[in-house]
Every structure is written in structure tokens, then in C-alpha cells.
Symmetry: C2
């Protein structure tokens, strides 16, 4: 019997897949942050040996996948299907990273929620009996994101105080039907929430209501609350978005004050690094997940984590057409026990 | 017991979901083609009552979804999860179409293979027991695609003979766990294939090898051949791509000559409409599926169709950086009987 629905948005996996391996690659600034020791490696510069930043971002995904496969004791030929996506137009970081791999591929687009979305699908494919080994992967790169979403780096534009810094990072996770864990036990699929925020330099404010919506749905569907988790971690709300989410949840009687953090807050040093509101980008939650959260679960630092990655589903064109920012948050439960 | 893997790429659904409803909206040129009578409706012009073409494409998805839900006797509140994506940067046609719907949403990116990819995932979610009603949706719009991928329409650029015409069309499908059919019985997940084609005005040549790869995998995995189907239909290879696929398959001993066609060939009149190599875009296979193939299965014109949508996973930037065109093809089997 496969996974069972709990309420409208949450699925409990009846045969929770095991995290067999994980890997990541980060950039220089991420290697200067508080989680530096957690990461598998970095490039000498932002190009990672390639001729363009976009090719560099693809190369990072390739390296992250190789590391995850190595840790899992697997090769690409063992992977039944990989779910991947990224921020670049037409998700070219992922498609070019995978073009020589010969792995069945299903592309996803969830903006910065991609790590959770791809992980959820990878887990459900195993729970449904459709695969025995799956992978989830994503990336972001400061230089590719800035020139695509904002302005050419050469302009040297000043960033607003609410701006977040797109992480240069890639992460990959390998799941198998059985193993030593940690295990993925629940998936909560998000809905699009748009509260009318127009400022694309304030993603935390745009995405926090989506995180609130998914966390509230998760607790309602499971009949539980924040106390069920050692750690609740959102994708990349950053410092301001984190405060907004705490407030929004408090208004609904959900107290996140004791065990909540955000990948965008964790990734950089708020004092020593001038990153304004913190980190963002698909790679932000991917790197924190694969460098900090999954190893911490393995080592017993936490027993149960609610990983809720958030995504802002805008484009530069939608902003130019005066549209507000639709946002989404997908959540998965990662547990030391199945 | 959920779906069972047959070989590496194919899943046989053990409880095949039923197509409960389908809907579409097309543009003026599609309404002048040979399938005009098949479609649910069109707009008075390319703007569909909106102020920009991008907003028009979103409006088309909304209308296609409403029609599909109506035909299924459902509302958005009945849908457990919707899979959608499109060609626009960051898939804004889909996200803006869904932002007020409150339906759990998982974004996909498969370029013009999106109809098959989203349909496959929607079906597997039901087969896995994760949902009882799901939806799959996509769109494309000639005016949004031209200005994003090629040149502003105002330039009036001449098109090369191998160019295809991006269909202005949206399609949506509703699946339920039980019903009168047609049924989705098999999924074959594609791998990225890149044979080095550099010409982004010759998508058929770029995508045909991916279609060959997926069809060959499907026949190998199922132990069958083209004779198992009344109709094999690719997504949008167009006239040239269709010929290339016939040749590639013939070289491998797979004879598609008697029961194969392509949505990009079917959508327009090769004689009366000057569309060069035929139709393309996510909406091309979506409209042909929801307007022609699914109704034909219901009416008994065919008993078993292999629907293999193809996608070119390039971006304008990857072409500017002199990259070739990675392509993919995902296939699903649609059958009158479960």
C-alpha cells in the first residue's frame, strides 16, 4: 500500500525512502560563511573552470550530483529518475548538467522551492513503487541570477536593504527504497499565495505568506504542531521574511519562536558578511540541506526536521507588467527514524 | 499495490486513472486549421481580453482549466494537485493562471513535452494513492514565444523553411481514480538526448532523436512494438522532424509508417496555411490531445494511443553561448480500456 493522504495537501509516505547520499558545491562567499566547514567543495572562482557563468552553474550541478552519487555508492546508471530545475530561463543549468548523463529526467520549476519540490517528487516515486533509486537536484549562481533577474553585474548597482543575495550553490540528494536514513516521511504540497507584494527586491515579504499557508496546512493535516519537530527550517525567507513568518504564525496561534530558522539566515554571517537580508536562490536551501541538515540528522543533532523551501514565482517580465509576486512553499519531513 | 516498473524508463499503472475531463482554448490560426471543429473556443484576437500577450496566455490556461473542470463535473476545490508549466521564462503563464485557484501546485518544466510530463505525473499521483483527482495543464502563445525566443514581432523577420509556428493554444486534463475512461495505462519517462543540432530554427531535427530514444525504450520496456497502437503521435516534431523520426526508427527496425503522426503536422493545413514546418509549442500537443485525441478515444475512433510529446530544452542564452539543443520526449499510453 502506497502513501496515504492526510488532508488535502499532505501525504504520509507508508514506505519512507532513505537518503542514500547528498552532495553540494558552493561559491566563495558561501565558503566564508558560518557553514563553510559543512560544504563538500568550492570553485577557485565564480566560473568553476567554464567560460560563462551559466556553464559554471551547470558544472556545479554535475559536481554536486557526482558527490551525492559517490556518497550513496551509486552511479548515474542506478538512478531511475532525476527531478531537477533551477532559476535560469528554461532551467538550462539543470538540462545542460544532465544532457550527457542518460538518466531519465523530469524537469520541475518551483523557483527557490525547487529543492523541496524535487525531493518530494523523488520520494513519492519510490513510495509509489515507480522507482527504487531517485535523485533531486538544483542550483543557483549569484552572477547568472543577477544578470537575468536584475541588472548586468558590471553596472555595480546598489542593493536595497531588503534585498537577499542569490547563493552560488548546487545540491543533490539520492534517495533509495531502503537504507540507514534519514528518511523522508511526509510531503506537504504548497498552493500559490499572492498577497500583492510588488517589490522584487523584497522576496522575503512576498514569500512569507506562502510559508505560513503551507506550515498551517501541514500542522492541520497532520494534527500536530511545531513541537513535533526539533527544527523547522524555511528555504530562503531571509532575515526580514523570517520575522514576518514568525509574526504571521503567531497571529494564528502557531508559535515558531523556539525551533525555527531559515536557510537564508543560516548561510551567511549577518555581522561579518554584508549580505543585507541574507541568502536566497534554489542553491541556498539546497546547500543548507545537503551540507548542514542531512548530516545533522545522520549525526543525531536533530531527530525530525520540517524542511519548507519557499519560491517566488515571478519573472522580470511579470514585474515589468506591474504584476505582484505569486509565491509557493513546499514542505517535506526528514526524520532519523522511518 | 501501486504501479510497476517495466525496464528502466516505463511504469505500468496498476490502477490506471481515468480522464474525467479535458478542455482547450486556441488562437485564430488554429481555428483556421483542419482541427478547428475540435476545439472548445478561441479569442476574438491574440489578447484574449487582456492587456499583454503574457497575460493573455495566462487567461487561456484559466479558460482551458474551467472547461476541463466543467466537463469533469468538478471544481478547483476537488483537485488535489495540479501539474503545470509552459515556455515562458519562470513559467509565468501557469503560475499567474493558478495564483487565485487555491489548488496545490507542482510546477514542471519540459518545454514542449510539458503536456505529456504533467499528464504522467498527474496519473502517477493517482496510481500511487497520493491523490484522487489531479490536473495537468500547459499553454503556448505565438506572440509571447516569438518575442522571448526570437525577435520582437514588430521586426517582421522572415522565417526559415525549417521553422515551426508556435501554437497559440492551452489545454488542461482532469484525471480521477475511477471513471469511464479513456485511461492512462503506461508512462515512459524520457532521457535528455543532444545530437549536436545548433540551429534553433530547426527544432524538429533537434527533437527527433529524443523521440526515437523514448519510443525505442517504450517498445523495449513493454516488449511490444508500433503494432500495439492504433495511433502513435509525437508532440511537435513538425513535417521535417516527422520524416527524420520515421528514418531514425526505420534504421532500428521500428516501422512507424502505418500508424504514426505528429501534433505539429495535424494542427495546421500544410497546403492552405503558410506555417512552414508545422506547429510547435507546449500548446500544440495540448490542443491536439484535448481537442482531437481524447475525444477520439471516447468516441471509439482509436482504442490505444501512444502520446509522445517532445521538448527542446534550450534557451536563447544557451544558443547565444553556442550550445547545441538538448531535447527530451516523454510518452504516455492512453487507452479506451483500463
Amino acid at each position: 500500500m502506497a502513501g496515504k493522504r492526510m488532508g488535502r495537501q499532505t501525504i504520509r509516505l507508508e514506505t519512507p525512502p532513505s537518503v542514500a547520499g547528498y552532495g553540494n558545491v558552493v561559491g566563495r562567499r558561501e565558503m566564508e560563511g558560518p557553514l563553510a566547514a559543512c560544504f563538500d567543495g568550492s570553485g577557485r572562482n565564480a566560473l568553476f573552470g567554464e567560460r560563462t557563468w551559466e556553464k559554471a552553474e551547470s558544472a556545479m550541478q554535475k559536481q554536486a550530483l557526482i558527490r551525492a552519487l559517490d556518497r550513496a555508492g551509486k552511479t548515474g546508471a542506478d538512478v531511475d529518475v532525476i527531478f531537477a530545475g533551477d532559476l535560469l530561463n528554461q532551467c538550462i543549468s539543470s538540462t545542460f548538467a544532465l544532457r550527457d548523463q542518460g538518466i531519465p529526467f523530469l524537469g520541475v520549476y518551483g523557483a527557490c522551492s525547487t529543492m523541496a519540490e524535487s525531493l518530494a517528487l523523488a520520494a513519492l516515486f519510490i513510495d509509489g513503487g515507480f522507482a527504487s533509486c531517485t535523485a533531486a537536484m538544483t542550483s543557483s549562481h549569484f552572477c547568472t541570477a543577477e544578470r537575468q533577474y536584475r541588472t548586468p553585474l558590471e553596472y555595480g548597482c546598489q542593493r536595497t536593504p531588503t534585498a537577499q543575495w542569490t547563493a552560488t550553490a548546487a545540491g543533490a540528494v539520492i534517495l533509495t527504497a531502503s537504507g540507514q536514513g534519514p528518511y523522508l516521511t511526509h510531503v506537504t504540497c504548497g498552493r500559490i499565495v499572492d498577497k500583492g507584494v510588488l517589490d522584487s527586491n523584497n522576496m522575503g515579504a512576498a514569500m512569507a505568506p506562502a510559508a505560513r499557508d503551507t506550515l498551517a496546512a501541514h500542522f492541520a493535516d497532520t494534527g500536530g504542531g511545531p513541537e513535533d519537530y526539533d527544527l523547522i527550517v524555511t528555504g530562503d525567507l531571509g532575515h526580514l521574511g523570517k520575522e514576518i513568518l514568525l509574526d504571521l504564525c503567531r497571529l494564528e496561534g502557531i508559535d515558531l519562536s523556539s525551533n525555527y530558522d531559515d536557510c537564508g539566515v543560516l548561510l551567511y554571517d549577518a555581522e561579518g558578511q554584508d549580505m543585507h537580508c541574507g541568502g536566497s536562490g534554489c542553491g541556498c536551501s539546497a546547500a543548507v540541506l545537503t551540507g548542514y541538515l542531512l548530516p545533522g540528522l545522520r549525526e543525531g543533532r536533530w531527530k525530525r526536521i520540517l524542511f519548507a523551501a519557499t519560491g517566488a514565482l515571478l519573472s522580470p517580465l511579470s514585474s515589468q507588467q506591474r504584476e505582484s509576486i505569486p509565491s509557493i512553499c513546499h514542505a517535506v519531513v526528514l526524520s532519523k527514524e522511518p
